[in-house]
Symmetry: C2
Subunit: 376 residues, 2 copies
C-alpha cells in the first residue's frame, strides 16, 4: 500500500545471503510464512527476488524475466485475454516481528503478512497450480513500493519494459480485506505563495504581513465542501487540505513570505490538468501570488466495465468499493490497463508492529482467483 | 540598537591584540574614527574595552571598574543627582568598512560609526572634559549588545553589579539622529497552539486539520487595529503580528498541530502581565488550545517628568519622540531608572555596509550633553 511517511527509514542494504528455496506446494498461508521469513525491507529485496524467480523457473510453464529485483513471469497460451496479477516484494522496516508466527486461532503474525506477502503467496500459488488458465496470466513481482516513487520497481518496469506489463486487466494484490477496490483517486500537491513586505516588528506598519495574508486561504479551506462523485457505481470522496504551512523570518520581523501546501485528493473523473485548474479556481480571489505544483499523480478509473473485470467480479463476489488512497493501480491505468486492488491483507494492519493476516482469508483469496482463472 | 536577525553571524573570537591608546583630546568625531579602527565585533570587544578602561584610568578623576569586557567609570563628587551615560562597545560584523574614512563633506564612514561608536566617543569626551559636572556621572560601556540577550553586558551588570548602575536618570547613546527618544515599547512573543487529529490525507474526513483551525487566528490578526496611546506627551504605536507559522507532518497527512507565533509590541502603559492577558483576550474565541509565552520584555515609561530628565530636555532642545523598538533603555527602567535614547547616529544606517555619521552631528551631541552637565 501507499508508503507511509510515518514509517522509520529503511535499514541500509545488507550483503545478500542466498534465501532458502520456496515450497510452492504449501498452501497460500504456509507460503506466506515462508515469504515473511525471508526479510525484504525496501532496498534489500534481492534474496527474496532470487527465491521467487527460482521457484517460478522451476515450474517450467512460465517465461520468467528479471529486471533488477523485479520478476515477471508469463504464460504464453495465446488466449484471447491476458490478465496481470501484481504485487510488491518489499516491506517497511522490521519491528521485532520476524520470523512469522501462526497462533492457535489461525492468525499469522509478522512483518508483511498483510502488506503484502500474503498477496504474493496467492500470486505464487496461482502460478504453481494453474498451468493452463482460461486467460493468459502475467505475474509481476516488484521492489521498492514502500519508499519514494523514484525507486518503485513497477514504475521502472513501466518505463523500461512496458511490453512485459501488457494486458487487458490487472489485479494488484495489495491488502483490501478480500474486497475489490476499484480504481483510485488522484493526488495533487500544490504550493500557494502569499506575498508580503519585510519590516521590523517594532514598526510593523512599515511592512505587510504574509502570514496574515494566508487568512483567506485557510478560511476557504475550512469552508470547502469536497465532492463525492459516483463513477462506475462507486462513490468516491475527495478532499482538499492544507498539509503544510510555513512562514516567518525571525521573532522580530514581519514576514514577507508564507507558503501553504495543499493536497487535493480527487476522484478519477478528473485528470491532472483539471485537478490543478480546480485548485487554482478555489483560491482565485484569495490573494495568492503564485501556485507551484509540487507533486501530481493521476487517479485511475475503476474500469469495471471490461469483460475480464466483470468475470473477475462475478468470481470473487461482493461489491467493489472505491479506493481513496493512491496505489500502483494508477500505474496500470496510465498504461491503459484497467486495474483493481484485491488482496487478503487488512489495510488497517499494514505497517504496524502487530501486523497479521488470517490464514483462512489468504486461502479464500487464492480460491477465488483460481475460480476466476479456471472457469470454463 | 536592537540586534538584527538579518545580520550575518559574528566572526569567531580572535586572539586579542593590544589596541593603540585612545587620544581623548581629539574631538568626538576624530575620537569616533579611533574607536572604529579598533574592531570590536560582538564577542571580540577585549582590545577596545582595554583601551577604553586605560584611557579612563589615565584621567585620574574617575573610579573605574571592570567586569569582563564591561567598563564602568564614576565621578564621586557627592552631587544631589547621579546620571548614567551608557553605550555598547560592540558592532555587528565588519562588512569591508573598516578602517574608517572621513570624506570631504565631513561624513565619517565605517562599521559602528552610527551604531554606536560615535555615542561612545561622546561619552569619552564628556568623561575627559567635564571633571566637575553639576551631577555625578556614571559612564557605562558594555559588550555583546548586538547578539542574543543572554550575552548582553548591561544585563550582566544589572544582575551582578547593579550598584554600579545606580542613578536618577540614564541616557543611552544609541543612534537617534540627535533627537530624544523616550521610553520604549514592550515586546511579547507568544505561541498559539491549534489542535487537530492526524489522518491520511486520502481519507481526510477521518482527521481534523490543525492548519485549517488557524483560519480564525489569522483572520483576527488581519483585522486587528493596534492602539496608539499617548503617554507623557509621546504617541506610541503598537502592533500585533504573526512572526511565524508552522504546521504539517508530511505531504499526505492531515496535520494534528499548527503553531502561530505572534509578537505583540505594546506601549509602556501596559506591563508584561497585562500585555499577555490582552493577547489571550484577542484570540479568546479562536479555538486556540493553548498559549505559551516564548519571550517577554517589558517596555519603559519615558520618565520625562523627572527633574534631571527635564533639565536634559531643556539642554538638548527639540521634542522627545516615542521609541518603538525595544532597547536597553528598558533595562534601566527595570532597575527603576528612567532612561532615554539620545545619540548622534542615524538608526536607519545601523548595521549597513554604508554605515556613516556626520562629524558635525557627533560634535553637536557632545556639546549638548556638556551644556546639560555643566550648566550652573
Amino acid at each position: 500500500m501507499e508508503s507511509s511517511p510515518l514509517a522509520p527509514a529503511p535499514a541500509p542494504a545488507a550483503v545478500p545471503v542466498p534465501a532458502p528455496a520456496l515450497d510452492l506446494t504449501a498452501d497460500a498461508a504456509a507460503l506466506t510464512a515462508q515469504l515473511v521469513d525471508i526479510p525484504s525491507v525496501s532496498g534489500t529485496e534481492q534474496p527474496l527476488a532470487d527465491a521467487v524467480a527460482g521457484a517460478l523457473r522451476g515450474l517450467g510453464h512460465l517465461r520468467v524475466d528479471r529486471l533488477g529485483n523485479c520478476v515477471v513471469a508469463r504464460t504464453r497460451l495465446g488466449r484471447a485475454e491476458r490478465v496481470v496479477l501484481a504485487g510488491h516484494l518489499d516491506t517497511v522496516p522490521i519491528a521485532g516481528n520476524v520470523p512469522s508466527r501462526l497462533d492457535e486461532q489461525g492468525m499469522l503474525w509478522g512483518c508483511g503478512t498483510s502488506d503484502m506477502k500474503s498477496g504474493v503467496a496467492v500470486q505464487l500459488r496461482i502460478a504453481a497450480t494453474v498451468p493452463e488458465p482460461n486467460r493468459d496470466i502475467t505475474f509481476v513481482f516488484y521492489d521498492n513500493e514502500e519508499v519514494e516513487a523514484e525507486k518503485n520497481g513497477l514504475r521502472r518496469l513501466a518505463a523500461e519494459r512496458s511490453e512485459w506489463l501488457a494486458g487487458d486487466f490487472a489485479v494488484v494484490l495489495e491488502p483490501s480485506s478480500g474486497e475489490v477496490e476499484g480504481g483510485c483517486q488522484g493526488t495533487l500537491r500544490m504550493l500557494l505563495h502569499l506575498p508580503g513586505t519585510r519590516a521590523h516588528s517594532a514598526r510593523s506598519w512599515m511592512g505587510e504581513n504574509a502570514i496574515h495574508a494566508a487568512a483567506p486561504v485557510l478560511a476557504r479551506l475550512a469552508a470547502y465542501r469536497p465532492r463525492r462523485p459516483v463513477i462506475d457505481g462507486l462513490e468516491y470522496r475527495e478532499g482538499l487540505n492544507a498539509v503544510r504551512i510555513e512562514g516567518g523570518v525571525a521573532g522580530n520581523v514581519i514576514p514577507d513570505a508564507c507558503v501553504v501546501t495543499v493536497n487535493y485528493r480527487y476522484a478519477p473523473d478528473l485528470d491532472e490538468e483539471r485537478a490543478a485548474r480546480h485548485v487554482r479556481e478555489v483560491f482565485a480571489d484569495c490573494g495568492v501570488a503564485g501556485f507551484t505544483v509540487d507533486d501530481s499523480s493521476p487517479g485511475a478509473l475503476p474500469g469495471l466495465g471490461h469483460p475480464a473485470a466483470r468475470a473477475f467480479m462475478a468470481a470473487v463476489g461482493g461489491r467493489a468499493r472505491p479506493k481513496f488512497g493512491w496505489t500502483d493501480v494508477a500505474r496500470f491505468s496510465a498504461l491503459g490497463i484497467p486495474a483493481v486492488n484485491y488482496g487478503p491483507g487488512d489495510p488497517d494492519l499494514a505497517h504496524k508492529r502487530d501486523e497479521r493476516v488470517a490464514a483462512a482469508t489468504v486461502r479464500h483469496c487464492e480460491e477465488r482467483l483460481r475460480a476466476w482463472l479456471t472457469a470454463p
